[in-house]
C-alpha cells in the first residue's frame, strides 16, 4: 500500500481500488472466523484455490477469506457473490461442483443450501435465512465483505471516510457533541454514555491523554469482540483514531486477551498497514494530527477487564483495581487522563459519523440507541453471533433468530451479562432487551453473552459455576470479595451435594449484600448477581436440593442415579465400552445394567447412547 498523504489521496486510492474491481465478477467468499476454522474452512479455501488454478479460472473468479459471518453452527460457510448464494457445511469435496455448477452455469446446488427447520424450505440467499433475517447487521455485517488482512478491502467499503471527515470538517467539541447526541453507550457492560466520557477526558488537565481499547473480553460465553477484532480490525482502529482526535490524545493501546491469537495477529497486521500508508504516525492526512497504537496481550486475568485493573496491567503491575474516587478520565494510565472504551463501542463510532445522529438514534429504545451484538450460545439451535437493534425481545432472539431449543428441550432461562449478570426466566421472555430493562430484572447487558438454558440445566449448578469462576478470579484485594465469594461457593457447593441446610438461602442473601456493598470494583459488587437472580426466579430448585435432596434437572452428581431403560436398550455395547469405571455389564442381545455403586456419574454413556436409553433420576 502506498503512502496516503492527504484526504484527496485517500479518495483517489479508494477510486483506484474500486476501479480495479469488477462488482459483477463472481466472488467466492469463505468465512474464516474461529468457528469455521474449527470446522475446516482452511481446507475448503485451499481446495477452491487448487480447483480455480486447475481450471485456469483464477483471472475470472475472485476468492476472498473473510472474518466471522456469525452463523458458526453451520460452518464452513461459503457465499457466492454477486448473487449472494449461501452455502453451508461446505467440504473440500464440494468445491469442484460449486465452481462447475454455480459459478460457471449459474445452477444452485440444493444439497448445500440451508433448510428451514420448520417448513423444510430450501433458502438460497444469505439474507433470507431466518438466522440473518431478524438481525440488523450494521456493525458486524461488514465482516462478510472484507478480508481483514487487507486494508484495501476496508477502504473499498468506505473505510477511513469518517476519519477523513472529522479531521477536515469537525472540531473536537463538535465530534463529542455528535457522539453525545447519538446516545452511544459503552458496550463493555456498564453502559456509560460514551460522549460524556470523552468530554470529561478532553477537559481533564494533563500533559498527555491516552485512549484504550478494552479487548480483554473475559466474560465466559461472549466472543463478539474477538470476532470484530479478527474480522474487521480497521473499524475498531478508525473509531479509536476519531476518539483520540476528539479527546486530544496521541497514543492509544489495545489490551487484548492472549487466548485470542487470531485477533492479536489481525489487529497487528492492520496497525502495520496503517503505519505503512501514513494513517498512523505523524501528521495524519496532512492535518497535523499525530497518533499511534500499541497492542498489549493480557495475562489471563478476568479482573483486568475492569478499567483500573487493565491500566495497572498496562503499566506492568499486577492487575488490581483501585478506588475510583478520581475517575480514570482524569487520572488513568500513568496518572494521565485516559479514555477507555470496549471494542464494539469503538466500532460504532465511524458508523455514527458516516450515517449521522438522526439515522443512528432511529434505531433502538429511548435510552439505548443503536444495535448490540450478542453471542447466542448454549442450548439453542442456531448458535452464533447476532446483531440486533436494542429493544428486541428475548423471544425474538431465541426463537426467530436462534431457531428455538434443540430436541425436545424446553426453554428455562437465559443468562446474560456473564458472571456479573443474572438468569432471566421464561416468564420474562417478552421483555425488551436494553441496558435499563435487563438491570431492572436483576441481570445486566454486560458485554453481550446470552447463554440459553433448557430444562436439563440446573440453576443451582449454574450459580455454583459462576461462584467458582468468581472466587478464582477475585484479585484478592478486598476481603469481602476474596473470602465472601469463597464462602458463598462453599454454601452453594454443599447444596448441590445434598448437604444444604434450612437457612442457607437466607445466609446466601445476607452474604450477597455484604459482598456487593463492601467490594471496591464491579467484579465484587456484581458477584452476587448470578446467585440472587437464581434464588429470585428459581427458589423451588434450591428447595428441591435442600429439602428433598433432589436435582430436578438431573445435573448435580451426588443427587442423581443412572439407569438403563430396558425397553430402549438394544445391547449395542457402546456404553459398556466407554464406561471408565466398568459399572455397565451386559451380554449381547441382553439389555445392559448399570451398577450404581460403581457408577461415577460421568455422563460418558449418555453421550454415547444413540437410543436415549440412559435415564437420570
Amino acid at each position: 500500500m502506498k503512502r496516503i498523504n492527504n484526504p484527496q489521496e485517500l479518495e483517489k486510492v479508494r477510486e483506484e481500488i474500486l476501479g480495479s474491481r469488477d462488482p459483477d465478477k463472481p466472488c467466492i467468499t469463505i468465512c474464516s472466523g474461529t468457528g469455521c476454522h474449527a470446522f475446516g474452512c482452511e481446507k475448503v479455501t485451499e481446495s477452491f484455490r487448487a480447483e480455480l488454478r486447475k481450471q485456469a479460472l483464477e483471472e475470472r473468479i475472485y476468492i476472498r477469506t473473510t472474518g466471522c459471518h456469525g452463523f458458526c453452527e453451520k460452518g464452513p460457510l461459503v457465499v457466492i457473490n454477486p448473487q449472494k448464494i449461501f452455502y453451508q457445511r461446505v467440504t473440500p469435496e464440494d468445491t469442484g461442483e460449486i465452481i462447475a455448477e454455480t459459478l460457471l452455469k449459474n445452477n444452485i446446488i440444493e444439497r448445500l443450501l440451508y433448510t428451514h427447520p420448520q417448513t423444510g424450505e430450501k433458502i438460497v440467499k444469505e439474507e433470507n435465512v431466518p438466522f440473518y433475517k431478524g438481525q440488523m447487521r450494521i456493525i458486524f455485517g461488514n465482516n462478510g465483505k472484507i478480508d481483514p488482512t487487507k486494508i484495501e478491502d476496508y477502504i473499498a467499503i468506505g473505510g477511513y471516510k469518517a476519519l477523513s471527515k472529522v479531521l477536515r470538517e469537525l472540531s473536537p467539541p463538535e465530534i463529542i457533541d455528535i457522539i453525545k447526541n447519538s446516545g452511544l453507550r459503552g458496550r463493555g457492560g456498564g453502559g456509560f454514555p460514551a460522549g460524556v466520557k470523552w468530554e470529561s477526558c478532553r477537559n481533564a488537565p494533563g500533559d498527555k491523554h491516552y485512549v484504550i481499547c478494552n479487548a480483554d473480553e473475559g466474560d465466559p460465553g461472549a466472543y463478539m469482540d474477538r470476532s470484530l477484532l479478527e474480522g474487521n480490525p480497521h473499524s475498531v482502529l478508525e473509531g479509536m483514531m476519531i476518539g483520540a482526535y476528539a479527546i486530544g490524545s496521541d497514543e492509544g493501546y489495545i489490551y487484548v486477551r492472549n487466548e485470542y491469537p487470531l485477533a492479536v495477529r489481525n489487529v497487528g497486521i492492520a496497525i502495520d498497514q496503517l503505519r505503512e500508508c501514513g494513517l498512523l504516525g505523524e501528521n495524519i492526512l496532512d492535518t497535523g494530527f499525530n497518533f499511534d497504537i500499541k497492542v498489549n496481550r493480557g495475562g489471563g486475568a478476568f479482573v483486568c477487564g475492569e478499567s483500573t485493573a487493565l491500566m495497572a496491567s498496562l503499566e506492568g503491575q499486577a492487575g488490581e483495581p483501585r478506588a475510583k474516587h478520581i475517575h480514570t478520565v482524569e487520572s488513568g494510565l500513568w496518572e494521565e487522563p485516559t479514555n477507555l472504551n470496549n471494542v464494539e463501542t469503538w466500532a460504532n463510532v465511524p458508523l455514527i459519523i458516516n450515517e449521522g445522529v438522526d439515522w443512528y438514534t432511529d434505531i433502538g429504545t429511548e435510552n439505548s440507541k443503536g444495535t448490540k451484538i450478542f453471542s447466542l450460545v448454549g442450548k439453542v439451535n442456531n448458535t452464533g453471533l447476532v446483531e440486533v437493534p436494542m429493544g428486541i425481545t428475548i423471544r425474538e432472539i431465541v426463537y426467530d433468530i436462534g431457531g428455538g431449543i434443540p430436541g425436545d428441550g424446553k426453554f428455562k432461562a437465559i443468562q446474560t451479562g456473564g458472571p456479573s449478570g443474572g438468569c432471566i426466566p421464561e416468564s420474562l421472555i417478552d421483555i425488551q432487551v436494553d441496558f435499563d430493562k435487563l438491570t431492572e430484572v436483576g441481570s445486566m447487558m454486560g458485554s453481550g453473552g446470552m447463554i440459553v438454558m433448557d430444562d436439563k440445566t440446573c440453576m443451582v449448578d449454574t450459580a455454583k459455576y459462576f461462584l467458582n469462576f468468581l472466587k478464582d478470579e477475585s484479585c484478592g484485594k478486598c476481603t469481602t470479595c476474596r473470602d465472601g465469594t469463597r464462602r458463598m461457593y462453599e454454601l452453594v457447593d454443599a447444596i448441590t451435594r445434598g448437604e444444604g441446610k434450612e437457612g442457607d438461602i437466607e445466609l446466601l442473601e445476607e452474604l450477597s449484600w455484604v459482598v456487593s456493598e463492601a467490594s471496591l470494583c464491579a467484579l465484587g459488587q456484581t458477584a452476587p448477581n448470578p446467585v440472587l437472580s437464581t434464588i429470585r426466579y428459581f427458589t423451588d430448585e434450591y428447595e428441591a436440593h435442600i429439602k428433598d435432596k433432589r436435582c430436578p434437572a438431573g445435573v448435580c452428581k451426588d443427587l442423581i442415579t443412572y439407569s438403563i431403560d430396558e425397553e430402549k436398550c438394544t445391547a449395542c455395547g457402546k456404553c459398556k465400552k466407554v464406561c471408565p469405571s466398568d459399572a455397565i455389564t451386559g451380554e449381547k442381545k441382553v439389555p445392559h445394567i448399570i451398577d450404581t455403586e460403581k457408577c461415577i456419574r460421568c455422563g460418558a454413556c449418555i453421550t454415547e447412547c444413540k437410543f436415549d436409553a440412559i435415564e437420570v433420576a
Binding site: A222, R265, G300, G316, V377, C602
Partner: protein
C-alpha cells in the same frame, strides 16, 4: 534460555519495566514455563526486584513456574461449554491422564489446564491441545482425541484427528 536470548527479548521491549508481562509471555512462549534462573537474569538486567517479577508471574493465570508437558491440554470452562457438559469432559480427562488440573503426566507429555473461555462458544465443549481446537467433545471422545497426540512432536500436527480442529499460526 541463555542470557543472550533473554537480552534479545528485553531489547525488543526496550528494557522497559512496564513491559514485564510481555517479556514473561515471550519467555514462556519459548521455554514453555518460567525457569527460575531466567527470572533472576531478567531481574538483574532490568534492575527490578525479583519479588516484583514473582508477583506478576503468580498473579496472572497465563504463567507457570513449573515445567509443563510437551502438549498443553486446555479445557474450556466457559459458560456455553459448561451448560453443554464441559465439567464431565474435564473429569474424564483427569481420570484418563491420572493427573489433576495444573499437573503434568509422568511421561512429561501432557499438562492439564483449564481456561475460562476461548471464544469459540458455538462449538462447545471445546478442548484446545497445543494450538488445535477440538470442538463438540464428549467424555466418550476424550481417549481417542488424546491418543492422537501420543506420538506427535510438539506444535506440529501431522495427522488430523477425526473431528473438527483449528490451527492458528502466530
Amino acid at each position: 534460555m541463555g542470557p543472550k536470548a533473554i537480552d534479545r527479548i528485553l531489547k525488543k521491549y526496550d528494557y522497559e519495566h512496564s513491559s514485564i508481562i510481555g517479556v514473561l509471555q515471550d519467555l514462556q512462549d519459548e521455554e514453555n514455563y518460567l525457569p527460575e534462573k531466567d527470572l533472576e537474569h531478567i531481574s538483574e538486567r532490568l534492575s527490578m526486584p525479583l519479588a516484583r517479577i514473582y508477583r506478576i508471574a503468580t498473579f496472572y493465570n497465563t504463567f507457570s513456574l513449573t515445567p509443563r508437558g510437551k502438549q498443553l491440554i486446555n479445557v474450556c470452562l466457559g459458560t456455553a461449554c459448561h451448560v453443554r457438559g464441559a465439567a464431565r469432559v474435564l473429569d474424564r480427562l483427569k481420570m484418563y491422564l491420572g493427573i489433576d488440573v495444573g499437573e503434568m503426566t509422568k511421561d512429561r507429555l501432557f499438562s492439564l489446564q483449564t481456561v475460562n473461555c476461548v471464544g469459540a462458544c458455538a462449538l462447545g465443549p471445546i478442548v484446545v491441545i497445543g494450538n488445535e481446537y477440538h470442538g463438540q467433545i464428549t467424555p466418550g471422545k476424550v481417549e481417542s482425541t488424546i491418543k492422537k497426540y501420543r506420538k506427535k512432536p510438539r506444535k506440529s500436527a501431522t495427522k488430523s484427528p477425526r473431528h473438527k480442529k483449528l490451527k492458528i499460526e502466530n
